[in-house]
Symmetry: C2
Subunit: 466 residues, 2 copies
Amino acid sequence: MIRSLLTATVACALLATAAHAQDVATAAALRDKALLDRTAWDITEDLTTTIGPRLVGSPAMTRAKDWGVAKLKALGFTNVKVEEFAKPSWTRGAESAELVAPYPLKLAIVGLGRTPPTPAGGIEAEAVVFRTYAELIAASEGSLKGKIAVITQPMVRAQDGAGYGVAGISRRTGPVEAAKRGAVALLIRSISTSDSTVPHTGVTAFGPDVLTIPSAAMGVPEAEQLERLAAKGPLRIKLNLASTVDAGDVAWNISGEIKGSTKPDEVIIAGGHLDSWDVGTGALDDATGVAITAAAAKLIGDLPKHPKRTIRVVMWGSEESGGSSEAYLAAHKDELAKIVLAGESDTGADRIYSLQLPKGAATHPTMQAAARVLTPLKIYLDQAPAAHAGSDVEGLEGAGVPVINLNQDASRYFDYHHTADDTLNKVDPSQLAQNVAAWASFLYLTADSDIDFRTLGATAPAPHAN
Amino acid sequence: MIRSLLTATVACALLATAAHAQDVATAAALRDKALLDRTAWDITEDLTTTIGPRLVGSPAMTRAKDWGVAKLKALGFTNVKVEEFAKPSWTRGAESAELVAPYPLKLAIVGLGRTPPTPAGGIEAEAVVFRTYAELIAASEGSLKGKIAVITQPMVRAQDGAGYGVAGISRRTGPVEAAKRGAVALLIRSISTSDSTVPHTGVTAFGPDVLTIPSAAMGVPEAEQLERLAAKGPLRIKLNLASTVDAGDVAWNISGEIKGSTKPDEVIIAGGHLDSWDVGTGALDDATGVAITAAAAKLIGDLPKHPKRTIRVVMWGSEESGGSSEAYLAAHKDELAKIVLAGESDTGADRIYSLQLPKGAATHPTMQAAARVLTPLKIYLDQAPAAHAGSDVEGLEGAGVPVINLNQDASRYFDYHHTADDTLNKVDPSQLAQNVAAWASFLYLTADSDIDFRTLGATAPAPHAN
């Protein structure tokens, strides 16, 4: 039994090796070249330095659009396109907060993205501190009437960033839940794994039918200070948030292609998002995602012969408060069947630690070959299929396009995410290069194959725990 | 030869042990108790939470004075004194800076302590970037006429904090040197070992005869961004700094004593400074110094029998922009001969790694015993004598009072020093306790001895390198 199993395994391995020997060699060469390539660093440095922060609707975002087009052309991409879509924009004004009682103390805050402004002159009210989101939810309707709700729930550091979903609910729906209970404003502890005073913004629930209140995030020490002071006596806080909305604004998805050599109409999509929050310079979020995927595709474009299928790099135009994904789906609905695969790089630039594939693909010889090429980069093939593959490819994913994840180590990412500290000096050049190496080799192998992820997914047995 | 050396060594050790057996046992017990004692943490938490930042001249500093008196009394200190001295105060107003060209970008800044304000409406000018202080010094007189000088020299991380003196010159005399060359304002890279956007303040040269200009520090990413942009083309910066000075203000040195049992007029002084900058909550600088020395002395005060000499804890009242040291010297000039020793804890709360003694003291049996008690805390006895022992004891030191250093690991200290991030969550409770253990055991041994550091210093041979 053991002998026959071994024989079969060896036979399979030989078959796979034979079928892909040249591709595997090319992918491995791309991988090794990428580790010494500085294109991704140069792109990241250029975008963060010459454009800076790139909030949708800002003059900087318009400059970023022109930068993106020029960069794709300079890197040798063809069929460079700018796809405009409607995107109401939100612009931050002056913001401040201070503890009024028991003693005056300035609090470092940043308004949540899309928060409504406070009335002119601000809001001053008694503050009620909830140490968890669940405590706020447990408060009865009307119990926060006229008060400022404060949520100080911390975020857990995790390699896969799982703490973000858990803690992030305070930011996403906290304002709505606090409003339901009568609160006039909400202050949350930043959704942060750091111990820093630098507050983290990020979008909160908004829309014409959303009943919400002015909401901001504060630094971690500030949240801990309020917790300690609340245990000693009543707190009063004053909050000022200004902002404006331009309902008629637009954004752009920008793309360029490494055209396939024999099946150019079959497309693999990879990208990062070009927009950023207005604090910091959007280095880890997501200049590096743009840079990693563009640099990886460029390395493939520089090969003497392009792979069979087209690789399309998309610089997504409105990830932070949404819009790119729906716009792309709407603009490309006639092309969906030809989109072989989609993936996004949007968790900074620390090393990739695992590959997740569409359902049923993990045992395919080409994907097994990909796993072997990635192993020296310290990346393993996760047997669980890829689920959520990034906000910007959600639309495609929902429409049946297979997706992958090249999962980045998020242990450090949420120290800087959505803050004034998301800057170039947080990018580790060697880890950035490891990302490019992984994307380049994976994209090449997939683009030069005939693998049909949809068929594999349809015929795959249900995954089981092991 | 070997045998006789060994015999002599053993004999010396036995002699020292016999002379100090009870004291050493008490010191070791104090050490071990301190490692599990939370008094220093409670003091640090209380001061940073209930008072917050404590700039000289602020209402918070007045509250801190009352807090200090109450705390010393509550901890069992006697002869609690408040010694008032004249100290002109400086108060920060609104501050902002932005890059105007090549594109608008807000810059995180903080005005240097004692900087003059900009004219109302601010200063907007071309900026000239110097990557080192030496480059600024090399610029000719008049060459910066009408310009904003920018110094981006980084600070080196070092266990002994040596990088602070080197990089800190940009802050201390940069404004004066830039003014000499015609500059209208100065922006420096924060004197920081971090990679953070949170800027570091700190005092700069001031006084009636000092020709200076409005000066601020910016975050590390901002400084690096300006360096990169300056390499591409001209920069314009707008700077707004408001501040006021109250020439009639006062400050206070506060002290309390653990009275000596047999030689109460012989005094050992230990302390930290109560004042802080107006950003953060002055946790590492220097609530912990106050807490470490007060908690150490309190442990000694709780002993069934006080040591021979008096231990006096001083909460210095104006370290950050100077004044405590001179005021204390003036108020205590008649007592100088009776001050046996002085030391200060003012480099945060990370672990102490070495003890430096007055000249000639390292071989004294009591100090050898102290070294042995400190060894389990991973503290070594440095053979070099203590030089600068803290800003607040400089006056005493200059007047001939012997001083010691219990050197704290400064590797992390300058990440937070003088910033909004100098907060309680940067204090490591176990390292804080190690500090208390070292101070308690050292202070006890010295206070219960007859050691005369002045005599040892006068008769000691010149130290030699080894």
